[in-house]
Symmetry: C2
Subunit: 267 residues, 2 copies
C-alpha cells in the first residue's frame, strides 16, 4: 500500500491532511463518540490526522491505530503525544493480515482508506473478523465525482478527472463514497446507515473557502500535477488553466460543493 | 414562457410535479413558515404543487400566486380549493411585468422557476421591486449537475446531459442551484444564505427510491426522450440503455444522489 498512496508522503501532504481533518472535524467526526472502556481499532490511521480527533472525542475509550507505513506511524505517534493524548496504541500492520484474534474489538473506524484499495470488500471482511458481534464499524470516504462548482470550467473538471484516473490506475476508487451502502451490505454488516456530509462553500463562508476549497481540495488536485502531465492525461497549459479556474471558484461569485459519505453498520 | 417550459404541460407531467412536491415537502418546504397576516407573493406557481404546501404551512398568511399560463393557473386553483385552502388568490401575469406597486409584499417565494428563464437576475430584480424593505425572498432550485449514482453508466449520464442541453437550448439553466448565492447577491439582496438540500437514496429508503429516483427524477429525464432522439443528441438505443441504467440505480445495490438549493435573502 505504501508506494501506492496517490497523495504521496511529503511533508506538505502531511500538513494538508491535518488542515483537512481540522476543517472537517465538525462535519465528519463530531457524531463519533465511543463509550468509556471500549476497544476501538482505527485501520489505516496514516499520519494520525483523524486519530487525534477520535481520541479527543472519546477520552475514555482505548484506541489501537494501525497502518502499513512506518513513516506515517512515526508522524502519528508524535502528533498524538504532542496533543497530550494517552489513549492510543500504535501497531504497524496490514489491514489484510491483522494480527488480532476474532472478536477482539468493540468498534472499528476507518477514514479515507477504502478509496485507496483495489479490494475494499475484502478489507471490510478482514476487519469484520476482528470485530465483536454487535460492535459497530464507521467508514468515512469522499467521492471526487461529487465535486461541482461555479463558474463552470471544462479544464477544472478535467484536472479533477485526472486525479480520479490516476487513483484508479493505482487500483483505488475515488468515487467510492456513493458505493458505501452496497459495500457494507455485501460485506455482511447489518443496520447499515449511510449519511452524506456535504461541504457547501460560497463566499459568505471564508473559513471553508480557505480550509476546504483551497487547502484541502485544490491542494489535493495540485498534488498529481506532474503525474497528470507526464502521463499525457492533460497538457501543461490546460492543467494550469484548470487549477486557475478551481481558484476562480473561491472568488466572490464562486461556489464549490463536495460530499463525503459516512457509513455506520453493525456486525 | 408558456411554450418554453422544458417539461411540457401534459397530464402526466402534472402528476409528476405533485409526486415530486409531496416527496420533497419535508426536505424543501418544512422550514418555510410565514407569520399570520403577512402578504406573500408566489411567483411562477405552475399547477400549484408548491402552493398547497405553502398555504398549508402558513394558514394565516395570505398568498398571491401568479403564473403566465392560464391552464396551469386553472389546475392550481382546483388543487388549492380541493384541499380546502382559502388563503390563496391567483393572478395571471408575467414575472417581468408584475402589476403591483413597489413594496407591495412582505415576502416572496419561488420554486423551480429561475431555472427556466434566460435572464434570472432580471427576474429577481423585477421581484425585488414589489418586495417591502426588510422582507424576505425564498428561492428553491435544483441542479441537474448534482446528480450522480451507482452503478455508474455513461449512457445514463448522457441522457441527463440531454435534459440539461435541451433546457439550455430553450434559454434555461438546469445547473442554476449552485449559482443561487451569486445570483441573489448580484440582484442586491442582503443577508443571503443558501442551504443545500441533498436527496440521498439507497435501497434502505424505499419511499425515496419510488417517490424521488423513479417518479421524480427518472420521470423528468424520460420526458425529453423524443426531443433528445429527434435532435440527434442521442440515438434511440443509447437513450433506452441510459434510462434502463437509471432504473438500475434503484436496485438493491444502487444509490442515487441529487441536491436542491434553497436560498433565503432580504431586501
Amino acid at each position: 500500500m505504501g508506494k501506492k498512496y496517490v497523495h504521496g508522503y511529503t511533508a506538505r501532504e502531511n500538513v494538508r491532511l491535518v488542515d483537512q481533518a481540522t476543517t472537517l472535524a465538525g462535519i465528519l467526526h463530531s457524531d463519533t463518540v465511543y463509550p468509556a472502556g471500549s476497544n476501538v481499532l482505527e485501520a489505516g490511521c496514516g499520519v494520525g490526522a483523524q486519530t487525534i480527533l477520535l481520541a479527543r472525542n472519546s477520552p475514555n475509550a482505548k484506541f489501537t491505530a494501525v497502518d502499513v507505513s512506518e513513516d506515517s506511524l512515526r508522524a502519528a505517534r508524535e502528533r498524538v503525544s504532542s496533543q497530550g493524548l494517552t489513549n492510543v496504541t500504535f501497531h504497524r500492520c496490514d489491514l489484510f493480515h491483522l494480527p488480532y484474534e476474532e472478536n477482539s474489538f468493540d468498534h472499528l473506524f476507518l477514514c479515507f482508506v477504502l478509496e485507496h484499495l483495489p479490494n475494499p470488500m475484502e478489507a471490510l471482511l478482514c476487519l469484520r473478523r476482528v470485530l465483536k458481534g454487535g460492535g459497530t464499524i464507521t467508514v468515512i470516504e469522499g467521492d471526487h465525482g461529487s465535486a461541482y462548482f461555479s463558474p463552470e470550467s471544462p479544464d477544472a473538471r478535467k484536472a479533477i478527472r485526472c486525479l480520479v484516473d490516476i487513483q484508479a490506475g493505482m487500483g483505488g476508487n475515488s468515487l467510492i463514497g456513493r458505493e458505501l451502502y452496497p459495500l457494507l451490505m455485501k460485506s455482511n454488516f447489518v443496520n447499515v446507515d449511510v449519511s452524506p456530509r456535504m461541504v457547501y462553500v460560497d463566499s459568505s463562508k471564508p473559513d471553508l473557502v480557505e480550509g476546504f476549497t483551497k487547502n484541502t481540495f485544490i491542494a489535493m488536485v495540485k498534488g498529481v500535477r506532474e503525474q497528470a502531465i507526464r502521463s499525457g492525461l492533460m497538457d501543461e497549459a490546460s492543467w494550469d488553466q484548470g487549477i486557475r479556474d478551481l481558484y476562480g471558484t473561491t472568488g466572490e461569485d464562486g461556489t464549490f460543493i463536495y460530499t463525503f459519505f459516512k457509513g455506520r453498520a453493525s456486525k
